[in-house]
């Protein structure tokens, strides 16, 4: 009998422990999800915050730039010429195109700015960092395909192959560890060979860059091999471009800097030139409109409903409405904006003012509900005391209750703003989803906002834009974090318990 009872108790205690573990593991799972989310986004975002440049000595050709009109000069051409001086081996049109492809399409912009600022530079040679293209940058960051560089430890002899096509590599360097394998590139100075086949200690190779006929042997320490985790066809950087980038790296010309451009540039089709300035300004303008509308409307509505509204049908209707609006999907507000503001009132598409209007309606219920809670928390004795010394009801509310409720109202408003700042779906409906390269200057300029920029970039196929998307998300989350921290600070600092 006792045994039975004890085993029953043991069972019940085990069930108790199990139940407790279920609860804890639900929370752990949620935390793991959150950690995974943040970790994957941060790890994706990190590369977007640095940019790679190549230091070039650019001769500012007086034939290409006019001191009277420095903005019109052919600066891209000068930068390309400077790169060609460093890497002179491009033999034909396709190779020259590949060489120029290492540079960003905005490579000459920095030089143009310098010359516009100081036209006296024309005719001189300046040394400046020039932005590399997104593909070259990804190669250098090792994000496109993994590149293993190993130093050649043993000597290799080079001889022209019989028949004149290609080269034959022999010697201990071919087979001793790590050895050579097809697809690898052998580099020595500016000479580069691609291994095509390896057979019993002999490797055949083809020249990637012009090879000096006197180069007949590679001594240990003077050569190295590059091996890639993906074949050339699967990479956006060709073998030739890779050897050029390695040469620039060996010459110490590649520099890594913080990508300030990401914060100062508007959107662009080129990943290395694209920035979030336009979206950030658009977000600020949109949220400013939303705040300017929703805060006074929301507070006024809350004061009315909480302090003055008579108990009647109309008040009930308004209350039910506000509660319903709080739960209406945000995309429906986009439909409202499209049908009413754009179609009926003929307001401009993509404009922050329309976005602000839609977001104001979206966060209005949030602000009203938070403000009502804050007003309700002020004890009635405050009102009664004011009424007792002869204040009118409105004087009691506006002079005494409202100032005491203000911290709570501000907290609710900031949380509403945070919601508006992260909202995407309704803005897609009113055209804030267009590609806009310019930074908006006013409330009616075409603009986009930060979450929509995230959405736009996430849709692009380029790998570099994946990093940009994650970086934009980091900025978005940082803004939300600051807003929420401000709300928490306000709550801690000013909240009063009566």
């Amino acid at each position: 009998m006792t045994e039975l009872r004890e085993s029953l108790i043991r069972k019940r205690y085990a069930a108790e422990r199990r139940f407790r573990i279920y609860g804890a593991s639900a929370l752990v799972l949620t935390a793991v999800f959150l950690a995974l989310l943040l970790a994957s986004i941060i790890s994706q975002a990190v590369p977007a915050f640095t940019e790679k440049t190549v230091v070039l000595d650019v001769m500012i050709d007086p034939a290409e730039a006019d001191p009277a009109n420095p903005a019109a000069g052919n600066y891209d051409g000068m930068v390309k010429a400077a790169l060609k001086q460093v890497l002179p081996d491009a033999r034909n049109r396709a190779e020259r195109k590949a060489l120029n492809g290492l540079l960003s399409s905005g490579a000459g912009d920095e030089l143009r700015r310098m010359v516009i600022a100081d036209p006296a530079l024309i005719g001189q040679t300046v040394t400046l960092p020039v932005l590399l293209s997104a593909d070259a940058t990804l190669y250098l960051k090792g994000l496109q395909a993994r590149v293993a560089v190993s130093a050649g430890a043993a000597p290799v002899a080079i001889a022209p192959a019989e028949g004149g096509e290609g080269l034959i590599l022999t010697g201990p360097g071919v087979s001793t560890e790590p050895g050579l394998s097809p697809g690898q590139i052998v580099m020595s100075g500016s000479a580069a060979l691609r291994i095509t086949a390896v057979e019993s200690g002999t490797a055949s190779a083809e020249a990637l860059t012009p090879i000096d006929a006197s180069l007949s042997a590679l001594t240990p320490g003077t050569w190295k091999t590059l091996s890639f985790s993906a074949p050339e066809a699967d990479r956006r950087t060709s073998d030739l471009q890779a050897t050029w980038l390695e040469q620039l790296k060996d010459a110490g010309r590649i520099e890594t800097g913080f990508a300030w451009r990401f914060f100062t540039a508007g959107d662009s089709r080129e990943p290395e030139l694209a920035g979030i300035r336009g979206a950030l300004v658009g977000s600020l303008l949109t949220v400013a409109v939303a705040l300017a509308l929703a805060l006074p409307l929301g507070v006024a509505a809350a004061i009315y409903l909480e302090q003055f509204a008579p108990k009647n049908r109309l008040t009930d209707l308004i209350e039910v409405n506000i509660n319903n609006l709080a739960a209406v999907p945000s995309i429906i507000f986009g439909l409202l904006g499209l049908a009413v503001f754009l179609n009926f009132f003929g307001m401009p598409r993509s404009a922050p003012v329309v976005g602000g209007l839609v977001l104001a309606l979206l966060v209005l219920p949030t602000i009203i509900i938070a403000s009502r809670a804050a007003l309700k928390a002020v004890p009635p004795s405050i009102t009664e005391a004011a009424l007792g010394v002869g204040a009118s009801h409105q004087q009691a509310v506006f002079h005494h209750v409202l100032p005491l409720a203000l911290p709570g109202i501000m907290t609710g408003t900031i949380l509403g703003l945070a919601r508006a700042f992260g909202e995407t779906a309704p803005l897609l409906m009113i055209g804030m989803v267009a590609f806009i390269a310019d930074v908006p200057h006013g409330f009616t300029d075409a603009a986009t906002v930060l979450p929509v920029q995230v959405f736009l970039w996430s849709d692009l196929p380029e790998l570099a834009f994946k990093n940009k998307t994650a970086a934009a998300i980091i900025v978005l989350l940082a803004v939300l974090f600051v807003l929420n921290a401000a709300a928490i600070y306000l709550r801690r600092r000013f909240e009063r318990r009566w």
Partner: protein, 392 residues
Amino acid sequence: MFLWAIVLAVLMASGAFLAGRRHALALAVAGEARLHSLPSYHGLLLGAAALIGGLALAIVAGLLLGPQSPLTPAAAVLGAVAAAIPLYRRSSVDFRARNAFERVVMLVLLACSAVAVLTTIGIVFSVLFETLVFFRSVSPIEFLFGLHWSPTGTPPSFGFVPLLAGTFLITLIAILVAGPLGLLSAIYMAEYAGSQLRGVLKPLLEILAGIPTVVLGFFAALLVAPLIRGTGESMGLAVASESALAAGLVMGMMIVPLISSLSDDIINAVPQSLRDGSYALGATKSETIRRVVIPAALPGIVSAFMLAISRAVGETMIVVMAAGLAANLTANPLAAVTTITVQIATLLVGDQEFDSPKTLSAFALGFVLFFFTLILNYIALRIVQKYREQYD
């Protein structure tokens, strides 16, 4: 130009405020009797009248002549003067300026509250109007019961059933994830966690709740969908790259904080006496929770689930980024399905022609979505109202 009209109206109102206050002060000094209202109320009344008059006339002028017309600022000045002058003439020692001003304030407050009603009316009418236009070219029967959705096909077909099925499939997955996770988290936080642990766990869930859905959508497309595809393929299953499972899982994580915070409040509201009674009968903590606390909190929990379903059905960005575009009528969570919100977003992004059934069908979908979420919210509200405080 309209901005100038607003600036001018505000300037005129400030001028009217100063003039009114001065006039009242002069009256108070000159007359023997005391003023009924403080001088600033005379000023405020004049200022409010000038502002409302100026803005009203400027808006009328803007609507008649276009907002860029140079006459709108003039209209603002004219309206302000016309509204303020008669009041200025009327003001006297006995003039009840405070009462008049407070009536104006009350009307303004009422008008602000009515914005919520106006928004609802705006939503219903804008969506309803376009839906009716849509039903002129596509019969409601075809829309509600058609099994094929392809608005851009030739000929286009607008059968809404596959969208509904896709929406329900993703919502179901989301609730299957979020229901147990959210409820168990809430139980743990309310019944087991100490105040210190709660102080860590609550912000954790608040962070998750505050993450914009576009970020969750990116995460779903970047990591979760390839992960599920890889796992599925290693087990020999055919998984679509935009599977319903990926979108549903991430959406489930999105609504975990919603369910857990609502359920947490409800569980905390269950009176302690119920627990004490159960303990006194010898029940363990988990038995008390399962047999006493949860049944007592059930109406609230059901209503929390209703709100969560409504959130999941209306959620847009996660499914736009992680779910498919093809309207497949399937119950396979590994296949790509599309949802109502995805279709609304894809049909309305870019240039719209308001005469084509393709654009209008988005409004019909919006109409369905609006009423569906409305009904869910209403049921949630009624459940809480009906069963609230049953045990007190």
